[in-house]
């Protein structure tokens, strides 16, 4: 499956995994995080990790991972349980949003279909009203 076909949530998780792998590599090789004036050098990290630059500004998980790596002196890329819990909650909420979005799309389609059917039913009702009026007036059968 190409990246283009991934959903936003899946891409986010993929980017997070890449950054985690990159930081784990740094730790294993005992190399420091590239810095620029004391702050993470995003351009260098982006090139080295294969994750686009903007992800380091927009993906909350990636930002947290970098901050943790900086704070831990590069000792651990595993976030503490509190953060993991928050991430898990976010994932659950993301999934729920996705689920609701899908439900909404389904309901919209259903509502459109029902509206079409209602219009057809109302037209039919009008027709039967005319037929009933005729039958009441003349007693004659109207062949459908």
């Amino acid at each position: 499956m190409s990246t283009n076909r991934l959903s936003g949530r899946e891409r986010g998780e993929q980017n997070l995994a890449k950054v985690r792998e990159y930081l784990a590599g740094l730790k294993a090789a005992n190399e420091p995080l590239p810095l620029d004036d004391g702050r993470p050098n995003i351009t260098a990290i982006s090139e080295a990790s294969g994750v686009l630059r903007n992800v380091f500004y927009t993906n909350a998980g990636v930002k947290r991972l970098l901050a943790l790596f900086m704070g831990s002196g590069g000792e651990s890329t595993e976030p503490p349980a509190r953060v993991l819990h928050a991430e898990r909650q976010l994932e659950i909420k993301d999934r729920r949003i996705l689920q609701l979005e899908q439900q909404l799309a389904g309901t919209k389609a259903e509502s459109e279909e029902l509206r079409k059917r209602l219009t057809a039913a109302l037209q039919m009702l009008d027709r039967y009203r005319v037929i009933e009026e005729e039958v009441l007036k003349t007693g004659r059968r109207v062949i459908p």
Binding site: V130, R140, R141, I143
Partner: protein, 702 residues
């Protein structure tokens, strides 16, 4: 001068009650103005349409030359007119076809555009339009042009063009295909001869099953026109043989079998019924049985406790307030209405039905039971309203209220219907279908009065049924016994010809003037002259047409009375003329049967209107409503039901409408004096013969 023209409509002013005034340009560019009455055109044209029109050109003092349309048919546009048509007709709105696209379509296809659209070839249009737009255009074209083809079909086969609307409303999709598939579909709207001729010209053979079924139905419809909903087998077989013009009865038997297999007719123990009437009778009987049997869990008495004392209290209170004493039958009637979910209250004019209703209202009010009381005619409803001092509506108004959903389906109202003898089967069906499941129903009427005008019979059967709670009031209150009217009425009810003395001026009672139709008017004038000082005199006619018909009487008396009075231009109305309103107008609270008088004619130059008093209230009747009023020096006995007059004149001659019930109804409209004028033999024969309602063959029973 007669004019025929094909024009593209440029402006339209639809009339408030059908018809239209419109303008259009002919191919030479000449602008013509048309006036089409509602019985000449089934719908107003639409700007952009092309119509073929025929009519009489006359000059109007204000609008100049106008063509008064005799015949109008829409034409399917062809050639370059298609482009104009698409740009101007509302059916093409919202399809995204503006001037540029329409022009491109013309450039691309030229005169072939008509062929492409008629074939519904949306794919071919895709060079100019998107697939979706092309399909929508093709659909819109099919919809608007099919009407022209339907009209052409109707025209070709000699059907009334005014049927176009109904035909399209009943078969909105593939109308022509349906009519070609089974031309006998048109039997819903037209007579057998016309439909059969059309079908045979379209290739239907003599023994085609479609023809067989239609012949059976057509004969049952003929019977329905004579008010019968049931036809015995032998009569049906013979009728079908005549209808199909076959020799033996074998063909008829096969046709009846075919109709039965296709469920086009219903077979009952007593004979055969057309489907619609059979269903209506079944529904009415079923609903009445439901009401009679009660719905489980529903409290069927108006009161859950202490019914006897509350009823007695209501009667005592009524008697004290009115200074009247209810007789035993009236008390029974009150108790029946309070205790029974379905009841029939019968009695001749003046037997005190109104007093019973007044007490029932009191009981219902104490029990907080809502009451809907109604009658068929506006005048009868008004009389009910006045007599009970409670709201009352026409049945039509009640049905409209129900359609609006204003009657709670879970409620348990008491529905009282006065003059129930006038209810035909379709009306009874319409009523029982809308009244709530737990409603109580009290039918009030006089089975000796006129039977319903429409087909079927319900009230007369209920009034004679042992399984329906019913009370007959017999003691006459309203008319003084000394007037002689109640005695004569009582004899006529039983088919006995009463002794009727010759007319002798002003006195109480009933008399007869023998006359022939050539001098009936003279006698009417003489009686009116004798009664000149009495006021409240009404002539009640049996028929509308003929020398003794109400039209002739009205024309003669109008001419005599209006000689020196202001008249309405172009109409036979003058100041002082008595009039009757012949439509229901819910906003004005005027009803079919409202009686009154033209007080003044106001305005001029074709903008006149009438100031009238109708049902005691002043109304302005404008030009568009003139067709809703008629002269009322004489009205039909049918229209008089529910009304009384001090003195009544009834011209009586042989007629298929004349029977005991009609004479009885006419007689009991009079309170002081009634004079019959005409053929004494016709009178005697009609009184002695069983009433027409007894001859009606119906499937309804309880």
């Amino acid at each position: 001068m007669t004019i025929s023209a094909t024009v593209t409509i440029s402006s339209v002013h639809p009339g408030p009650s059908g018809g239209a005034i419109f303008s259009g340009r002919d191919p030479a560019g000449t602008l013509l103005r048309f006036v089409a009455d509602r019985d000449r055109i089934w719908r107003a044209p639409v700007v952009g349409e092309v119509w073929s029109l025929e009519g009489e050109s006359r000059s109007h003092p204000r609008y100049g030359d106008q063509v008064y349309v005799h015949r109008a048919t829409p034409v399917e546009p062809a050639g370059r007119l298609i482009v104009n048509f698409m740009l101007r007709h509302p059916a093409f709105d919202g399809l995204g076809i503006g001037k540029a696209k329409a022009a491109r379509l013309w450039t691309e296809f030229g005169p072939d555009l008509h062929v492409v659209l008629s074939k519904g070839d949306a794919a071919k249009l895709s060079g100019v339009l998107s697939g979706d737009s092309a399909q929508k255009l093709v659909d819109a074209w099919r919809s608007v042009t099919e009407e022209a083809r339907v009209v052409s079909f109707l025209d070709e086969h000699g059907f009334d063009l005014l049927l176009a609307n109904k035909v399209r409303a009943v078969w909105p999709e593939s109308t022509l295909a349906k009519l070609s598939d089974n031309p006998y579909r048109m039997l819903a709207f037209a007579n057998w001869e016309k439909v059969d001729r059309a079908a045979r010209s379209l290739g239907v053979t003599e023994h085609d099953p479609r023809r067989q079924v239609a012949a059976v139905e057509a004969f049952l419809y003929r019977r329905l026109d004579s008010k019968h909903t049931l036809t015995p087998r032998a009569m049906l077989l013979d009728g079908v043989r005549h209808q199909m013009q076959t020799r033996g009865l074998d063909g008829s038997s096969a046709a009846v079998e075919q109709a039965r297999n296709e469920h086009a007719i219903v077979v009952t123990g007593g004979g055969y019924q057309p489907l619609g009437a059979a269903v209506m009778e079944k529904v009415v009987a079923g609903r009445l049985r439901e009401i009679l049997g009660g719905v489980p869990g529903s409290e069927r008495n108006l009161f859950s406790t202490n019914l006897a004392s509350i009823t007695a209290e209501a009667i005592a209170s009524f008697e004290k307030n009115k200074g009247l004493k209810l007789n035993a039958r009236q008390r029974q009637a009150v108790e029946m209405a309070a205790q029974q979910p379905l009841g029939v209250l019968t009695g001749g004019a003046g037997t005190g039905k109104t007093a019973v209703l007044q007490v029932i209202h009191r009981i219902a009010e104490q029990a907080r039971v809502s009451v809907f009381q109604m009658a068929l005619s506006g005048r009868a409803a008004q009389r009910m309203r006045e007599a009970t001092a409670r709201p009352a509506s026409t049945i039509a108004a009640f049905l409209r209220t129900s359609e609006r959903g204003a009657i709670e389906p879970d409620s348990e109202p008491l529905v009282i219907i006065d003059e129930s003898s006038m209810l035909d089967l379709p009306l009874m069906y319409s009523i029982v279908r809308v009244i709530p499941v737990r409603a109580r129903l009290l039918l009030v009427g006089d089975p000796y009065q006129l039977p319903p005008i429409g087909f079927g019979l319900v009230f007369h059967i209920l009034a004679a049924s042992q399984s329906i709670p019913r009370v007959e009031l017999v003691e006459v209150h309203r008319q003084t016994q000394s007037s002689g009217i109640p005695q004569a009425a009582h004899q006529i009810r039983r088919g006995i010809v009463p002794p009727l003395p010759p007319f002798a001026g002003v006195h109480a009672g009933v008399s007869f003037i023998e006359a022939d139709s050539s001098n009936v008017i003279e006698h009417i004038l003489r009686v009116r002259e004798k009664w000149a000082e009495c006021g409240d005199v009404q002539i009640l006619g049996v028929t509308r047409r003929g020398a003794s018909g109400i039209r002739n009487i009205n024309a003669t008396l109008h001419a005599e009375a209006s000689a020196y009075k202001p008249k309405l231009d172009g109409w036979e109305f003058a100041e002082g003329d008595p009039i009757i309103y012949v439509a229901n107008d819910y906003q004005k609270e005027l009803w079919n049967g409202s009686l009154g008088r033209i007080e003044k004619i106001v305005g001029s130059n074709g903008r006149q209107s009438l100031l009238c008093s109708l049902d005691g209230v002043e109304h302005e009747i404008r030009a568009e409503e003139f067709h809703r009023i008629e002269l009322a020096y004489a009205i039909t006995v049918h229209k008089s039901q529910g009304s009384q007059f001090n003195r009544v004149i009834v011209p009586i001659f042989e007629s298929r409408l004349l029977d005991r019930t009609l004479i009885y109804t006419a007689l009991t409209r009079g309170m002081q004096q009634v004079v019959f004028i005409g053929d004494r033999n016709a009178f005697d024969v009609a009184v002695a013969a069983p009433p027409h309602s007894h001859e009606r063959q119906v499937g309804f029973s309880m």
